[in-house]
Amino acid sequence: TGGHTTEILRLLSCLSESYSPRHYVLADSDKMSEAKIHSFEQKRAETFSKSQFTLDRIPRSREVRQSWISSVVTTLYSILYSLPLTYKRKPDLILCNGPGTCVPVCLSAFLLGLLRIKRTIIVYVESICRVETLSLSGKILYYFSDYFIVQWPDLKKKYPKSVYLGRVV
């Protein structure tokens, strides 16, 4: 969604073509991100001719301020929905930065890893908006990600297993 998409596209901006093909996963309710992604990939194709990407949609796992209990139910549903997608794509790397959408995708990949079906490296970059506290996605994925990147030093202090590279977006 919105700000998250802008941030993640900035994160992608300096990646080499080794990070290809790129599979984007969006919430079904997200109207604006698709255009931003197409625009980014179009520009990229101007420099890297063999550039490839796909776009999939999954049900949104949680609305803003949705209650705890219903969030668990909708997230479980989203994990089940994400499993076939993650299984199909079998990504080497999942890169995400915090929208609720990323939690089921990451958890489904984590599950496939436990089942020895595919080992995916999960890299989570907390949004630049998060200076002192983690988002809910961050709090969850801190325990499931291989690398957890924060953009402000306070968070590095609070979450010692995180990686601090300064502001990256």
Partner: protein, 104 residues
């Protein structure tokens, strides 16, 4: 206007920007090198937007107020005291990932 796809043009021609604390708005403005006053909406609960605005203010990049103190802030502001904003460095992230995958 209510909504535009991009504020880039308006930002470019502005001398001063007064904005809510949304990260996109703040960062876009700072990256264009425009002086920024961030207005906090204290009626929004669980306002994590505050974190970024507060930090940007602490670091000396923006001025900061709420709706009721806006006028006073405008009257007493010293824009020259604001520090120039350095952009984020996605290349550091790319470098980090390359090391993870042994591409460097």
């Amino acid at each position: 206007f209510r909504f535009k796809d991009s504020l880039a043009e308006d930002l470019q021609s502005a001398d001063l920007v007064i904005s809510h604390a949304g990260a996109g708005s703040c960062l876009e403005t700072l990256e264009k090198g425009k002086p920024l006053i961030v207005v906090i909406n204290d009626k929004l609960m669980d306002n994590h937007q505050l974190e970024l605005a507060r930090q940007l203010h602490r670091d000396g990049y923006v001025l900061y107020c709420n709706c009721s103190t806006l006028v006073e802030t405008l009257q007493s502001m010293d824009l020259s005291a604001l520090k120039p904003f350095s952009p984020g460095q996605p290349e550091k992230f790319a470098s980090f990932l390359d090391k993870v995958f042994g591409l460097q």
